[in-house]
């Protein structure tokens, strides 16, 4: 077919995709930027386009600054938790011989593909004040009779994010670790390197692109998370995604909501650029 489709006709094929993206992705984003400099008349709810920076000034104050900082802390903490939990799991899967490897990989992916909201609801049930986890910990004598206070706390939200995004960390780690030639590890062993030294000097540097990719896949969506704090935060542990949505859907201050959305976008973009740098530099000991 190449060469047979002439100039214009060939270019037209890009139109559906480019058109849709321009109309329903870029235009809304431009609109958000424009709105973020406007102001709402609180009496009439009319929008005045007066190119003010006051919305951005308000973003970094009180309640909203709290939500931004909380989002960053929860996102970073959950990403680190995913990395610490995911690494041994990915390593184990990568070292499992034959068909077992595929089965384990499949086992990691199945929970990820069951409904997101239902899984979050499962966590809600599990960590509830009188849920199975509380009973188990009470039986083991780890906690007292006053129950488990995880639900509707930042820690509960962090557990939910870590649980939901763990498969997205395990996958790229597995891909990076599986590629490591076992001969390299044997060589390091034979040359007398202790296991922790092999890990630090051979495995970790080679796994670095996988670690960066995993952090992108977990950290980026976690920062803008909306559903998990809704269910597990119970309206108390709000993240920036929830605050943005509230401005649009219940408070009705679109310009301020738009400014918050732009700030969230900026945070995500900065994080992405930083993480991509780590991804591109694969080996550095």
């Amino acid at each position: 077919m190449s060469g047979r489709l002439r100039g214009l006709g060939r270019q037209l094929l890009a139109l559906p995709s480019v058109g849709w993206t321009a109309l329903f992705f870029w235009a809304p984003l431009v609109l958000l930027v424009v709105y973020s400099f406007a102001q709402t008349d609180l009496l009439t709810y009319e929008i005045k386009y007066d190119w003010t920076l006051s919305n951005y000034g308000n973003v970094f104050q009180g309640l909203y600054l709290d939500a931004i900082v909380r989002s960053l802390i929860l996102s970073v903490a959950s990403t680190i938790a995913c990395l610490l939990i995911g690494f041994p799991v990915a390593y184990t899967i990568a070292r499992t011989p034959g068909r077992g490897q595929l089965i384990l990989l499949f086992g990691v992916m199945v929970p990820f593909w069951t409904s997101f909201i239902v899984r979050t609801y499962g966590i809600f049930n599990l960590i509830g004040d009188s849920g199975p986890l509380a009973s188990l910990l009470q039986t083991l004598g780890i906690i007292g009779d006053d129950g488990l206070h995880l639900l509707f706390t930042p820690l509960g939200v962090a557990i939910g994010i870590t649980y939901s995004y763990l498969p997205l960390m395990i996958l790229p780690l597995y891909v990076a670790l599986e590629r490591i030639d076992p001969a390299l590890l044997d060589a390091a062993n034979d040359l007398g390197a202790a296991p922790h030294r092999v890990m630090r000097r051979v495995i970790l540097p080679l796994a670095k692109p996988g670690i960066a990719a995993g952090c992108i896949l977990v950290g980026i969506p976690a920062t803008g998370e909306y559903v998990i704090p809704q269910i597990l935060g119970g309206g108390k542990t709000l993240m920036i995604g929830n605050v943005v949505a509230d401005q649009f859907l219940s408070i009705g201050d679109y310009p301020f909501g738009a400014a918050l959305a732009i700030v969230l976008t900026a945070i995500v973009m900065i994080a992405l650029v930083l993480l991509r740098r780590g991804e591109r530099r694969p080996v550095s000991a």
Partner: protein, 273 residues
């Protein structure tokens, strides 16, 4: 290497697997539990399933979910296929732009572009509802479908298509009789993934549904937030089965015929061997 029983990391992996499945199993167990308070196991019942099945809202919202999923998948596939055809012959610079447009739709927080669309529709006085949700779902679904389709195009040689053209087939005929069959596995996998994403979506569906159109996950979110009834577990189990089924079919196809969709499912590299 030492060999004294299972290594700690193996035990740890087993524990992580237990944790991955525990919340899901809990929902299933609760959906079959007689105890309305959901505190103890009080025997097996299908009562909650019956309740969910007879719930008018559940049935209506399931219908809306399916409608949105089918429409957004169909549109996303058209965008991905036409985009993929264009991409094959595009210059390097144009490709880079196209890629940036594709990945930005995946990277940007869903809350942001869903609210941007909300704003756009209210600015243009377009009512919210099923149509608005479909538009939103296509924004992210078409990006995933495009990536899968490009992976397929990248491994596809033009030999067969050129042969067909040399033998006198016109462009449309080459596309329909040669290109499309070659693309079929990727279309099926991309389609199933789009269906899953759409059926699973909460944010876009909630923001763009307005007051009339509510999808099943949005209903579930509402039920969880307002008042926990045992019925939620039954609806949730049903929802999980639907999304899981589409994933399993996609996985099976990937295993049988490598499509380049494996990256999405995490199975492709093995399957391609």
């Amino acid at each position: 290497m030492r060999r004294r029983g299972p290594k700690p990391r193996v035990l740890f992996t087993a524990l992580v697997f237990v944790c991955l499945y525990a919340p899901i199993l809990l929902v299933i167990v609760f959906s079959l539990n007689k105890d309305a308070q959901l505190l103890h196991w009080e025997g097996f019942t299908l009562e909650w399933y019956k309740q969910a099945f007879n719930d008018e809202a559940v049935r209506k919202n399931l219908g809306i979910s399916v409608q949105v999923a089918v429409l957004s998948t169909a549109i996303s596939l058209v965008l991905a296929i036409t985009g993929g055809l264009w991409y094959r012959n595009a210059t390097g610079r144009a490709r880079a732009w196209f890629d940036a447009m594709t990945y930005s739709r995946i990277v940007l927080p869903e809350v942001v572009f869903a609210l941007g669309l909300f704003l756009l529709f209210s600015e243009l006085n377009i009512g919210l509802g099923v149509g608005a949700i479909v538009v939103g779902h296509v924004v992210f679904n078409s990006a995933y479908a495009t990536i899968i389709m490009q992976a397929r195009f990248a491994t596809m040689s033009v030999t067969l298509e050129e042969a067909a053209a040399d033998l006198g087939a016109n462009r449309w005929r080459v596309f329909r009789r040669v290109t499309l069959p070659l693309l079929t596995p990727a279309i099926v996998v991309a389609g199933l993934l789009c269906l899953t994403f759409s059926l699973d979506d909460v944010i876009t569906s909630q923001f763009l549904g307005g007051t009339d159109a509510q999808t099943l996950p949005v209903l579930v979110l509402g039920k969880i937030r307002l008042h926990v009834t045992p019925e939620v577990n039954a609806i949730g189990t049903g929802l999980m089965l639907i999304t899981l089924l589409t994933f399993l079919i996609a996985g099976l196809i990937t295993l049988l015929r490598p499509t380049g969709a494996g990256g999405m499912l995490g199975l492709g590299r093995k399957a391609a061997e």
